[in-house]
């Protein structure tokens, strides 16, 4: 009962509301900075896609690691501490869905940018291919959670999550290892990389804002999964009570 109130209380927590308010302010400032940043010399206004594409790409590399860590903890705790394992599993589900969401945005904005800049929607470039693979891996994780028969779903998906995480460093390093269609790294790409300092505010504000938004969604999705776990638990308990009641009658 106490734990139930605690889970339900997440949505009503004052810090949650404050965090949401701060996030919306950051998103609004980020949008304003993206719109008012100086126009890039070569690509013109199209370059403004970068202010949304870059933060989503960066955060889309973090969520799979959270998913992998939570999956490892789930496998570690599932025998000794079922309650902690359930929490880790809920966190794994939440971070996997956030991965799909952020990679989807990264792919879509990248394709729109590519269509306008290169004249093509898609090419089998190293970065694009490994990023698509990342999306497919986490879509399959989410589908597995949704459609697999109950019982071993959490274990199987935890194992999938650990293997799926291998794609992240490959995807991240792809534009350093292979020089193909995708532009070279903007930050930390060596000599000649980087952007004009007048564009920094638009980049950092949007990076912070979409990170805060991601954290907000992650918290909300985690709370929802915990709520579902409790509902499933209560339903199982009710069913067991229904089955065991007539048996007790017989034994009397």
């Amino acid at each position: 009962m106490q734990a139930e109130a605690k889970v339900a209380g997440i949505s009503k927590a004052p810090w949650g509301v404050a965090w949401a308010a701060l996030t919306f302010v950051a998103l609004a400032v980020g949008f304003d900075k993206a719109m008012t940043a100086p126009t890039e010399a070569t690509m013109g206004n199209l370059q403004r896609v970068f202010y949304y594409h870059f933060p989503h790409a960066i955060w889309s590399y973090l969520f799979p690691y959270l998913n992998c860590a939570a999956s490892l903890l789930y496998l570690l705790w599932r025998q000794r501490s079922p309650e902690r394992a359930a929490r880790a599993d809920a966190f794994a589900v939440a971070s996997a869905e956030l991965t799909v969401l952020y990679v989807s945005v990264g792919l879509a904005t990248g394709m729109l940018w590519g269509r306008a800049a290169w004249g093509i929607w898609w090419t089998w470039d190293a970065r694009l291919t490994t990023y698509l693979l990342l999306w497919l891996l986490y879509v399959s994780y989410v589908l597995l959670r949704r459609f697999a028969a109950p019982g071993q779903t959490a274990v199987v998906s935890a194992v999938l999550a650990i293997f799926a995480a291998i794609d992240i460093p490959i995807c991240y390093m792809s534009i350093r290892w292979w020089r193909t269609q995708h532009p070279a790294p903007v930050f930390g790409g060596g000599e000649g990389s980087g952007i004009d300092p007048t564009m920094y505010a638009a980049v950092w504000w949007n990076l912070a804002a979409w990170g805060m938004w991601g954290a907000l969604l992650l918290g909300a999705r985690y709370a929802l999964e915990r709520r579902r776990q409790r509902q499933a638990e209560a339903e199982t308990r009710m069913l067991l009570d229904e089955v065991s009641a007539p048996m007790l009658e017989v034994t009397r």
Binding site: E4, V7, A8, S11, F31, D32, M35, T36, T39, G44, N45, L46, R48, V49, Y52, H53, H56, E97, L101, S104, V105, A108, T109, L112, W113, R115, A116, W213, L217, A220, R221, A223, L224, R227, R228, R230, Q231, A234
Partner: protein, 39 residues
């Protein structure tokens, strides 16, 4: 005042729309799923 002239590139407008649609669509689904689930 938002300088709307910077939205002259239609692919930029599409990109912004895709971002907001996906992000707020997911947030709306979360709210709906929360209401459907008994705590």
């Amino acid at each position: 005042m938002i300088p709307f002239h910077t939205l002259s590139q239609r692919h930029l407008v599409f990109a912004y729309c895709v971002v907001w649609l996906l992000q707020f669509g997911y947030a709306a689904w979360l709210v709906a799923a929360w209401r459907r689930t008994r705590g």
